[in-house]
């Protein structure tokens, strides 16, 4: 699989990752090489083989719905890059008309 700079740009946007011009070139080359290695998987016949997502075989794990102590507000906000009152502060999301 040959990954182009345009592919890199598209994937970077999906990943919410700003990439520089030099990173675009490097990633295009490196991802192409890694995916070429990955393509050897096509040698294995997997028709009728169930995919493995986890080895535990668990489906859902339930617990009783009881009230327990949770992280106090001050502790939860202690690592906030920016706070306002009891909340996390972020740039404005909704545009003004």
């Amino acid at each position: 699989m040959n990954i182009t700079r345009e592919d890199v740009e598209k994937v970077a946007t999906l990943a919410r990752l700003h990439v520089t011009e030099s990173e675009k070139a490097a990633f295009a080359k490196q991802l192409s090489e890694i995916l070429a290695h990955v393509e050897q998987l096509s040698r294995y016949d997997t028709s009728g083989v169930e995919p493995t997502a986890t080895v535990m075989g668990q489906v859902n794990v339930f617990r009783d719905d009881v009230v327990r102590p949770s992280l106090p507000t001050e502790k939860a906000l202690a690592n906030a890059p920016e706070r306002e009152g009891d909340g996390f502060c972020v740039p404005k999301i909704i545009e003004e008309r």
Binding site: I3, D7, V8, V11, A12, L14, A15, R16, L17, H18, V19, T20, E23, A26, F27, Q30, L31, E33, I34, L35, H37, V38, Q40, L41, S42, Y44, T46, V49, E50, P51, T52, A53, T54, V55, M56, Q58, V61, R63, L71, K75, A76, A78, N79, A80, P81, E82, F88, V90, P91, K92, I93
Partner: protein
Amino acid sequence: MSIHKLSLCELQKKFSAGEVSAAEIVRAYALRIGQVEPKVKAFVTQVKDAASAQAEALDRHLKGWRKTKPLTGMPLAIKDNLCTEGVATTCSSRMLQHFVPPYDATVVARLREQDYILLGKTNLDEFAMGSSTENSAFGPSRNPWDLHRVPGGSSGGSAAAVAADECVAALGSDTGGSIRQPAAFCGVVGLKPTYGRVSRYGLVAFASSLDQIGPITKDVRDAAFLLNAIAGHDPMDSTSADRPVPDYMKALAKKDLKKVRVGVPREFFAEGLDPDVAHAVTAAIEELKQLGAEIKEIQLPRTDAAVAVYYVLATAEASSNLARFDGVKFGLRAKETKDLLDLYMKTRQEGFGPEVKRRIMLGTYVLSAGYYDAYYGKAQAVRTLVCQDFAAAFKEVDVIVTPATPTPAFKLGEKSEDPLQMYLSDIFTISVNLAGLPAIALPCGVSRGGLPIGMQLIGRAFEEETILRAAHAYEQATQWHLRKPVIR
């Protein structure tokens, strides 16, 4: 004998007998760390003052009443991707450089309940992505046996700290070999327990279907001792197994390997294996036979697919797990951004290093529309085949023995420009994570260049006792674990 040279079990015995105080232990390690840490660079964060204060409080409390818990007063190091309340947990990333967790990981809480002493947080490849610690945002750790070589990774700081006697034992995490490969490179013991055996609550997630926490120690007995402390079900991690935990120390009672069938997979002894490693592991297999094991040749035919499967699944899971680092609630936030999307993209650009970005990109690509079936779906199906190989082999044998790594420790910079070559250095450990099995790496020889060589023993799911027994019998017969590096 100097305190820092003792094993965990030896030190524990002396401490519980009152022959040494906690303050003496911490002083001895502070001295040792002061001597060798400038060369080894195993730690991201040291907590000297807190350790001293804690030791003195312990000594006061224990005066005249010496009923200690197994890890009371034991000086440990913790990989810096495990949350420690009040102590920075950086994942060796700029993203989390100033992050101080508001809670303990469950494994850390369990050590704390036993009054262990935290000496510091150890270096890793950023977010545990790498095989050399060269991907740390704070610079690489060094191999105590040769400071020009890597300690392995990603738990390279933990392995180097144990090998250099900078702590009595350490915790690491293993997603594709990150406990076993650095243990092999540094000549110490590293145990990856069965998937589900140890709670991952508070471990910064990399690839959730593969990650597991385990001990890195000076010998096999210590690994069993430390596993006893951390194993078991945790309601906070729904993937932790709700099944009884045996006393792993009891597994060490049998000194021979009679009635143990040991499988040797021919695929692990193919081209590319360093001749010194091949020689050492072949001799180790002969030793297992002398101890009474029945040696059988087995096949794991899908072994060569493991690296490709891993780098699809692990990166896919990582791209999802690392989406949480967005500059909103904790961690780095980029300055001067024009809107929320810009804040996400610039924060992630500034916070992540090259390897983490590469894996996020690869993971996002294989999950993206149009490629999902071809890459992610295919890799999940081949994962099933890899699991089937192990299941078939474990009908014939009880333990599988392999080299832990294809070569001894490589030089700093040797593979850092070539991601694929770096990935292939994990070829012997990765399939074990795909199948969720327990495996232990332990020293089994030395290269002509004087570097440690490690072998790997793999067991059935939840049969840690079998591999601990085999590893311990081998260790007692050969004593490779007693070799120590001269740090210069």
